[in-house]
Symmetry: C2
Subunit: 330 residues, 2 copies
């Protein structure tokens, strides 16, 4: 064998190894925390169909938009939304310095009884609690407050940080979609700045891909410096039809794939899957009382009724959390 | 020379060639349609400072947000905003089928006299014209209408399509920033769906990076299908303090660099350059009556007065369009 032949042989070996590595990579399970089943197959075959060059359903990378609800879809929402725990903790922390709050029956009840003080609260009541605890500061100061709270607050059942109670199977989906050129968005009823505080480190979703409910902002020039301050009022509620509207106003493209878990996601899934061309709507059905929670039609948080009834007609995939997932938390 | 030596020599030649090519690329003028001068130097030295690893001003790619006003910054805005021409043309086209419009003095004046019919129009008048011409259809239908109009409308002085009257030097800046890892956004008073109709093919800016004024949307289910319809009312005006607010609400990060050309961009530049760390605010000053237009303090369109006065104190770069640009149009 001449030197040249040896070098060519070595090159061939390297190429074969590289090919083998690529091929092994391609055969790696794209959703390792999902059990094999109809849900996993539906997601994988959808992604393959819209990303494989030459496929009749092929969609260019720029058009690959995926939207995710947050509470109950990406992280735990029982026994109450994490943001409700945050409100209660803020009310308690702030209440000491606000003796006048004792004259407000709602505020006094929340400070005294915590979440139980919210029983029977109207939407107007909730808005007043949000205003009292979320307003009067800059968005940056608010995010810092959320991060400080996340550091110390613990979920009542699992005794873990709330941002540890994110679903491993959904992190797999986020990674899998991004590896296939999708831009992943949160579209959730939660406060946009509340979610931005942790969305990037926890989900890999940057602030500009987080869409949520919004506080009104006020622009002020303080000592010559531009300042934005969160007002006590809510400017936009990103729920139900609001989700479809926010997707149009902010993203300006109809998603290819959308994930939700409650009737609040109905219109987002409709707007996604009725856009023409191949699309996928996925509903996370909480059926896992042992490892997490089981709830749907009668739950006060994350009620799933209408979307469950219509999923067959709409062609949406219903994920059975108990059967479909291998592992629960990140 | 052995075979091995010859191969090594060939490899060395390839490496040298590759190195030379890279080096030549690095030395290529990043803003070829700009004359050498203070403006160009300020932009290039800023970009180098925030992107060079090890630089004290280094910023990670994810944080590299650049925002651009549209009218007068990226494309021509004289003698009137392109969207005003669009409104006039729509009024004329629709007027034939709407005899009742003749009873509305404003509508009748616009249909009869065109732009001149807008003289003395109030903000409320303009909103009613926008409502009459932009409402009652889906966003997709509206974009199609804008594209059809762009195909046929011509600028009164230059006799060219409006989307040909975009500034070559600004396309250079967009390309240069994107090549350096920046995400480029439009943040403009123009209608968001009006701009999305052409922003991607003309500027390389995708729909989700276009922020503008917004029509209210209505969600309807028509024969079981989700539909969004533009209402006649304006939900948000993306001008002045509104630009800073929209940047916070939608992007959630403060830009590193912002380009504007009028007092409507003042707060966006303030919000950008006062964010701490190295930032750059750039004002496009229209000084080129011969090749384009010259206007500033007394112009009814694109008035630049306060921002010109305060640019020195704020450290903003004032681009002198006549002196700074080699070529005008794309």
């Amino acid at each position: 064998m001449t030197t040249r032949e040896r070098m060519l042989k070595a090159l061939a070996a390297i190429l074969l190894w590289a090919f083998g590595a690529c091929s092994a990579l391609a055969q790696t399970d794209p959703l390792p925390s999902w059990n094999d089943g109809a849900s996993k197959r539906a997601i994988v075959s959808f992604v393959e169909a819209v990303t494989r060059p030459g496929s009749p359903d092929y969609v260019a990378p720029a058009e690959r938009i995926a939207t995710f609800d947050n509470d109950g879809t990406l992280w735990v929402e029982q026994p109450a939304y994490a943001q409700a725990f945050f409100i209660v903790d803020r009310m308690k922390a702030m209440g000491a310095g606000k003796p006048e709050w004792r004259d407000n029956p709602l505020f006094a009840a929340v400070i005294e009884k915590g979440l139980a003080g919210l029983t029977g609260a109207t939407e107007h009541d909730l808005a007043s609690l949000v205003g009292a605890t979320h307003g009067g500061m800059t968005p940056a100061a608010f995010r810092a407050l959320v991060n400080e709270w996340l550091r110390t607050a613990r979920h009542p059942r699992f005794k873990r940080r709330f941002d540890e109670l994110v679903y491993r199977p959904m992190l797999d989906v986020l990674d899998y979609l991004r590896a296939n050129g999708f831009k992943t968005y949160i579209v959730s009823g939660g406060g946009v700045e509340f979610m931005r505080a942790f969305a990037e480190p926890v989900y890999g979703i940057p602030p500009e891909q987080v869409i949520g409910s919004r506080a009104a902002l006020k622009f002020e020039t303080r000592e010559g410096r531009a300042t934005l301050v969160r007002e006590g009022s809510i400017e936009f509620i990103d729920d139900k039809a609001g989700k479809a509207m926010a997707i149009e106003q902010i993203i300006g493209r109809r998603p290819l794939i959308a994930f939700g878990n409650s009737d609040g996601d109905f219109e987002m899934l409709q707007w996604t899957t009725q856009a023409g061309g191949r699309r996928l709507g996925v509903i996370i059905h909480h059926t896992d009382a042992e490892r997490e929670y089981a709830y749907d039609r009668t739950s006060s948080v994350g009620r799933l009724d209408r979307a469950l009834d219509q999923s067959a007609a709409q062609g949406w995939v219903i994920v059975d959390m108990k059967a479909d997932r291998k592992s629960v938390w990140r």
